[in-house]
């Protein structure tokens, strides 16, 4: 914050409507490559607030909100809308299907879960051998996806291979937290929808709801091409492995911590982030007294990995909401962390100007 827009704005609070929108987004299915249901909800939510809206060849939904000034700064904000899940690949017998995992789900979290299959979210389960019929040696091995099946019950002839499935998790509130499937990254989607609605007039906002992030940042690889952004922000979820260790030793590899606010990336497995943007974001946090944390550098990544390499290069920042147990049946996020993240991104748009990118790299 140097020469323009120095005056602090009023920060928004997280409303029950936003949590309600997150609930809707969490409960629907949008496995990588099949983001249709999520895209429809986003389209319904932002139509009327944007000037252009396109779905591209990979299924990215890209919205343009024009500025009310000449030669505005063109800002891309990307949030992936896909989630990890399953595809039914072979019908083995009546109602029983082989399936493959789409995205990074730990095989050890599959057995014994309810799932929902296809567009109509028909019920099914991933069963497991009764404990009475397995040996101790067998129970020392993992139940691999090749041995598990999705069971939709006898007489389900309308379900066929090719359908997608997800865990059948219903979003709930848990005290100071929310819990649901696909909070990675429907939280980012819900945030971006709000940012579009309240975007400052001096900025041209390119909002990219990207597809196929979980299977190799494929949507984000093509999303920046249409509108040529000057700068990009990626909003996502990141693991908080901040629980106590089994042996009570100091937990030094926590990635991020809950209740410490938005996680700003310095570097990860794919990206060295633009430090002018990192400084911009951290100084905003300090001026607004928004708690923040730097995600511990290390493996992993976000859509930034593809976006910063686009065209002739795009200065890019990543800001994530810390959360536990991503890519399982249920993730836990502190509501306060989401709110602080939303506030930081709102402030980031409000004070953003071209001079930030004129500083030395």
């Amino acid at each position: 914050m140097n020469n323009t827009n120095d005056q602090l704005i009023d920060l928004p609070v997280l409303t029950d409507e936003m949590i309600g929108l997150l609930e809707t987004l969490s409960n629907i299915a949008g496995v990588s490559g099949n983001e249709i249901a999520v895209r429809s909800i986003i389209r319904d939510s932002i139509t009327g607030f944007v000037d252009e809206l396109h779905t591209d060849a990979l299924g990215n939904l890209i919205a343009l909100k024009k500025a009310k000034v000449e030669k505005p700064l063109k800002v891309l904000i990307a949030a992936h809308m896909d989630e990890v899940g399953f595809m039914l690949v072979e019908k083995e017998s009546d109602g029983i299907f082989r399936f493959k995992v789409i995205g990074g789900i730990d095989e050890r979290a599959l057995a014994g879960k309810p799932v929902q299959v296809g567009k109509k979210q028909k019920p099914g389960v991933i069963g497991a051998c009764p404990v009475h019929l397995s040996t101790r040696e067998e129970r020392e091995r993992i139940l691999s996806v090749d041995t598990l099946r999705i069971d939709t019950g006898p007489g389900t002839s309308e379900i066929q291979p090719g359908e997608y499935a997800t865990f059948a998790t219903k979003f709930i509130r848990m005290g100071q937290s929310v819990c649901g499937k696909a909070l990675d990254n429907r939280i980012g989607v819900a945030t971006l929808i709000e940012l579009i609605k309240n975007c400052p007039e001096n900025i041209e906002l390119i909002a990219a709801f990207t597809a196929q992030e979980e299977i190799g940042l494929r949507g984000a690889t093509v999303a920046p091409f249409r509108y040529d952004p000057d700068v990009a922000f990626v909003i996502d979820c990141t693991p908080a492995n901040d629980q106590p260790a089994w042996d009570q030793s100091e937990n030094t590899h926590y990635k991020t911590k809950l209740n410490q606010g938005p996680a700003i990336y310095a570097s990860d497995g794919r990206t060295m982030y633009d430090h002018r943007l990192i400084r911009y974001l951290t100084s905003l946090c300090e001026n607004y007294a928004i708690p923040y944390q730097i995600r511990q550098p290390g493996p992993g990544g976000t859509d930034a990995g593809a976006i910063h390499l686009s065209k002739n290069g795009i200065p890019t920042a990543s800001v994530s909401v810390p959360g536990r147990y991503a890519h399982t049946a249920a993730m836990i996020v502190r509501i306060a962390d989401w709110e602080k993240h939303f506030q930081l991104m709102t402030a980031a748009l409000a004070h953003l100007h071209a001079d930030i990118l004129k500083a030395d790299r």
Partner: protein
């Protein structure tokens, strides 16, 4: 309403209630309410067994009626808090199950402050006693995250608080239900169906519908209830392994294949033959279930109560036993209930005299 729909609704109601071994009261109350209209008397024993007593027609010779006991265990498997560390709850099992089905399960924790939701989680490898790469994480290192912060966790939970599965029933096509505790609430529903049908039938024996406690841990109800009732004959109703992914071979029968009739040392051969013949006479689909040693049901303790009780074992096929996604067919539940009602209606006052061994005939 159709009887089948009524039973399905009742079954969904009782598998949505907690009833962990030793803590059966919520489910006991619901079952008592369902049985009340169909019986002359409802009682709960001092250790929690539920007795629904339906008297037979008074005998012509003034002798007391013979007594038939229909035993179904009401309890289900669950967990208990064993340790609290930071905001995490560690737990021990109640009853036997395969820990590999646990990561990602929704549970309810029954604290003195009320019921709280939680999820069973597998922590990051660096937080475990060893990384468990490619191996199941042992049960004692799985934890429950309630989404509550440490202070709140400290104030809310105690070691010893009971934990039950929280996933709700899923209705599958062709009258199948998926959910937890179908072992043995499906059999409770079968007894309820039997009592329903007996409303329109005459019978000379007194019928004691018994919901037993703690079958999964100590056979407490099965071992104690016969002393309250002094039955002349007992039918034990439980579930058996249905064929499906992970379950095949001589211990399994097909889902939807009807009543499975147990035979072996734990069951009386004459009664086995009688039941089998009745199935054929009534055209009720059935399978045979060999029990070379003990059946592992309440029939084990009931048979050896007092001077010995002639015992029948009827089983309902169930997939994925002791997981939260067990599957049963309502058709099999109805058939089991119907078979018992028909058997009871045919019991003559002198039937016990006919329970003789082959070499004595």
């Amino acid at each position: 309403m159709e009887e089948k729909t009524k039973i399905k609704e009742f079954l969904c109601e009782i598998i949505s209630l907690p009833g962990i071994s030793g803590y059966e009261t919520p489910v006991t109350n619901a079952i008592a309410k369902a049985w009340e209209p169909f019986v002359d008397e409802v009682k709960v024993s001092k250790i929690g067994n539920l007795y629904g007593i339906k008297r037979g027609s008074p005998s012509k010779d003034g002798k007391p009626n013979k007594r038939l006991m229909l035993a179904v265990h009401m309890d289900g498997i669950g967990m208990v808090i064993a340790k609290i560390s930071g905001e995490l709850l560690y737990f021990a099992p109640i009853g036997g199950f395969d820990p590999r089905i646990l990561p990602g399960q929704f549970v309810n924790i029954h604290s003195q402050k009320g019921d709280f939701p939680g999820i069973i989680v597998q922590l990051a490898p660096n937080l475990l006693s060893e990384s468990y790469e490619g191996k199941p994480v042992p049960l004692d290192q799985l934890a429950i995250d309630t989404g509550l912060e440490e202070q709140m966790v400290k104030e809310t939970f105690r070691v010893g608080d009971i934990i039950s599965y929280a996933n709700l029933p899923q209705e599958l096509p062709t009258d199948c239900i998926a959910g937890h505790s179908l072992d043995n609430r499906a059999s409770v529903a079968a007894v309820t169906q039997c009592l329903t049908e007996l409303q329109h039938m005459r019978h000379s024996w007194d019928v004691f519908a018994v919901g037993t406690t703690q079958e999964e841990t100590a056979f407490l109800g099965g071992a104690t209830s016969p002393f309250d009732i002094l039955p002349d004959l007992a039918i034990v109703i439980d579930v058996t392994f249905a064929k499906g992914p992970g379950a095949d071979g001589w211990r399994t029968v097909a889902l939807e294949s009807g009543v499975s009739i147990g035979y072996g040392a734990n069951l009386h051969p004459m009664l086995f033959a009688e039941i089998k013949q009745l199935c054929e006479q009534l055209d009720i689909p059935y399978t045979l279930s060999p029990q070379p040693l003990m059946s592992g049901t309440d029939a084990d303790p009931i048979q050896i109560t007092g001077a010995g009780v002639p015992t029948i074992l009827l089983s309902i096929p169930l997939r994925y036993m002791h997981t939260p996604v067990e599957i049963i067919s309502i058709k099999d539940v109805m058939r089991t209930g119907h078979l018992m009602a028909e058997f009871i209606a045919r019991l003559s006052p002198d039937f016990t005299e006919k329970i003789v061994w082959e070499d004595e005939q």
